[in-house]
């Protein structure tokens, strides 16, 4: 069994934290894992992506082949579209609905959502509103992970939840609680 996931968004949105949680859960579950990240200049408000590969068998390539991803998890709707060439024919896109507009030529939001509606399987939610409702506006990335959890498949919801606790524990109990609240929103 394997799961290839593209995580994407805009530098500073917390993509790597999502990757870290999934990575921790996969390691604890004894799965093979490769996770290619983007470091450096593009983290300054540019487009960023991470290739996350989980498998019960050894993995060779650090990069996912085109058309090979089971899942795109995106913090931003236009960024979700940018990686469609990686999405498999039966793949799922889980994305934030609200654009992050930091460029002058950002497309019309309606046209963006029309394109998104064409993907095979789509989950598109206002994660900022969800996180705000949970009282943790900075936890939008964990709200997104909560939405994506059912599609990760190779790891169950609770394994991710436990991994999140371990990842955030060094930052204090309050941070753990706030992030769990965002993660659990989907189920409440």
């Amino acid at each position: 069994m394997k799961k290839d996931i593209i995580l994407c968004g805009v530098g500073g949105q917390g993509i790597l934290s999502i990757a870290t949680v999934i990575g921790e859960a996969a390691t604890a579950a004894g799965l093979y894992l490769k996770q290619a990240e983007v470091h450096g200049m593009s983290q300054r408000g540019g487009d960023v992506q991470s290739h996350l590969r989980l498998s019960s068998e050894p993995i060779y390539s650090d990069l996912i082949p085109l058309g090979g991803a089971d899942l795109i998890v995106s913090m931003e709707p236009m960024e979700a579209l940018r990686y469609l060439p990686w999405l498999g024919a039966e793949g799922t896109v889980v994305t934030a609905s609200k654009p992050l507009v930091n460029i002058p030529d950002y497309p019309e939001e309606a046209a963006l959502h029309a394109e998104l509606s064409k993907v095979p399987h789509l989950v598109c939610e206002d994660i900022d509103a969800m996180a705000a409702k949970a009282g943790n506006p900075r936890g939008a990335n964990m709200a997104l992970l909560g939405l994506a959890a059912p599609y990760i498949g190779i790891l169950d919801r609770n394994a991710l939840r436990e991994a999140m606790k371990r990842v955030f524990t060094p930052k204090g109990e309050a941070v753990v609680a706030m992030n769990l609240k965002c993660y659990d929103l989907e189920q409440s």
């Binding site: 290739h51 082949p65 460029i103």
Partner: protein
């Protein structure tokens, strides 16, 4: 003990577990995390393993050589272009030889994710005639640290460890030793071979030539170079390319004869074996066609060798599972195209960054001088070349802003302005400023000081709090060394200083100084 590690971190931990005494480095993507990992390691700190950042790659290489002279193991880390900066020390370290093991980690950046060229560090190892290791996985990256130190000490040569971005910045689980080898004891060399006077250098160079046979033997016996598989098609897969080839062969249900190469010089007899078993060879390597060129030379013009040179693989850019699958003749799956409305999202200055205020003022001033030019340098502030500022005429190499402005001014260009960051200035700008000071060149140098090496994530900057002193000591008239705090409210003041100093017919330095917004936030959190 298993650990989830970036390729860079795997090398760092491998080096620590192999008895490292010091890491010497200047930050540069994609190599920075090696040194940061060692700096964060509690045991290394306790045992006094050197890990403070160096001023540039040349000082780093030389310090490592000094540590080796004293008998201990040293690691030097840099991005590929750092090899250019330390090349003098590096190439000559092959002639002196080493005592304590020296590993030179060069992190190449095919596709130029964060770089200005695609140079391949394997050329440097061949040029200096030293061995090179090129891991294909995080596990090999870890294992090769210990292996590389042993090889270095056995041959008495520095060993290059070549990383590429995709391995440096990809995580996987690594089996580690879980314990550390004791560092080498202090044992300074008393070999005269370190004194490279011509008469001694000629002897040393012959010694280096003599070591080539042992290097070749080591490559042939290396656990990292191996033949496998079957079939008419031969594949030479170098470093990380091995993964893409395996991925593609497995997905396509194909077989091939494969030579995995992760230690150089190229193992010549293994290539001969592959040739004997196959009717053609495909060379798959990330970076420039180093091995392809070498294999063509070995096998002659009549034997078919494919790769980047004959277009089987793209001539530029990094390897991907897709272009490797295509090179193997495998069908590509149908893909969903990117909708045309998706636009580029280039990186940009952070909100609240002081560089913004500098460029806002500079833009207003330069609008009055259409014949003038602003020469840029390498750091976050290179983003000033992009809209909305479009301020920079050049970005070439560390420190080039000052010297290019001087050369342009020598040619008569006016006004010639240089914009350089604080860390880049101490890395390679100071010597250029001395040239400019010695001629009182009519240029205005802006040292945009954010108290850190920001672009690579906020490492310490070597010259913090010393800039005015350095400029004056180098010969800049103190009346023309001006400082200002770059804030939106101070844009008129920055503009005034720029106009005054451009009007001055001599060398001037303006230092806008305010802490990087990213490190300031981090510092605020800690308090």
């Amino acid at each position: 003990m298993r650990k989830l590690l970036l390729g860079d971190e795997a090398v760092a931990l491998g080096a620590l577990d192999a008895g490292l005494s010091g890491v010497y480095a200047y930050p540069g993507t994609p190599s920075t995390e090696v040194t940061e990992f060692i700096q964060a390691d509690a045991q290394a700190r306790e045992e006094g393993v050197h890990s403070r950042w160096c001023t540039n790659e040349k000082t780093a290489m030389e310090a490592a050589l000094g540590m080796s002279y004293a008998g201990k193991r040293a690691l030097v880390c840099m991005k590929h272009v750092g090899m250019n900066v330390c090349a003098d020390a590096f190439v000559n370290s092959a002639v002196t030889g080493v005592k304590g093991g020296v590993l030179v980690l060069a992190a190449d950046d095919p596709s130029m994710h964060s770089s200005q060229n695609e140079q391949d560090s394997r050329f440097y190892a061949g040029f200096a005639m030293v061995p090179l290791l090129e891991p294909s996985s995080q596990q090999e990256a870890y294992d090769m640290a210990a292996y590389g130190f042993e090889l270095s000490e056995r041959l008495g040569l520095p060993v290059v460890l070549r990383m590429v971005t995709r391995l440096a910045h990809s995580r996987a689980s690594v089996q580690t030793a879980g314990k550390r080898r004791t560092a080498n004891p202090l044992g300074p060399s008393s070999d005269r071979g370190w004194v490279l006077l011509p008469a001694i250098a000629r002897r040393q160079y012959l010694k280096l030539i003599d070591k080539q046979r042992a290097m070749q033997d080591s490559s042939i016996e290396s656990p990292y170079n191996a033949l496998s598989g079957e079939g008419e098609l031969g594949i030479i897969a170098c470093g990380i390319a091995y993964n893409y080839v395996q991925e593609a062969l497995a997905a396509g249900g194909r077989k091939a004869h494969m030579l995995k190469v992760s230690q150089y010089p190229l193992p010549e007899n293994l290539i001969a074996s592959l040739r004997a078993a196959c009717s053609e060879i495909l060379v798959v390597e990330d970076g420039q066609p180093v091995v392809e060129t070498g294999v063509k030379a070995l096998l002659g013009a009549d034997y078919p060798v494919h790769g980047r040179l004959d277009g089987r693989l793209p001539r530029t850019g990094e390897l991907t599972p897709d272009n490797v699958a295509a090179a193997l003749g495998l069908d590509a799956p149908g893909v969903i195209p990117v909708p045309p409305l998706v636009t580029g999202r280039p990186p940009q200055f952070c909100q609240g960054c002081g560089h913004r205020d500098v460029y806002a003022a500079l833009g207003r001033v330069m609008a009055d001088f259409p014949e003038g030019r602003v020469f840029g340098d390498i750091g976050c502030y290179t983003l000033g070349a992009l809209p909305p500022y479009r301020a920079l005429a050049s970005c070439v190499d560390m420190g080039a802003s000052i010297t290019m402005a001087k050369g342009a001014a020598d040619a008569g260009l006016f006004p010639a302005v240089a914009v350089i960051g604080d860390s880049t200035f101490t890395h390679s700008g100071m010597t250029g400023l001395l040239d400019a000071a010695n001629e009182n060149a009519p240029i205005t140098v802006v040292i945009s000081d954010n108290l850190t090496t920001a672009m690579t994530g906020g490492q310490d900057s070597a010259g913090t709090s010393k800039y005015e002193g350095i400029c004056v000591a180098l010969g800049v008239d103190p009346a023309h060394v001006r400082t200002v705090v770059p804030l939106p409210a101070n844009i008129p003041e920055i503009e005034r200083l720029l106009r005054e100093e451009i009007a001055y017919k001599g060398l001037s330095v303006i230092i806008p100084r305010r802490e990087c917004i990213q490190t300031a936030r981090r510092h605020a959190k800690k308090k």
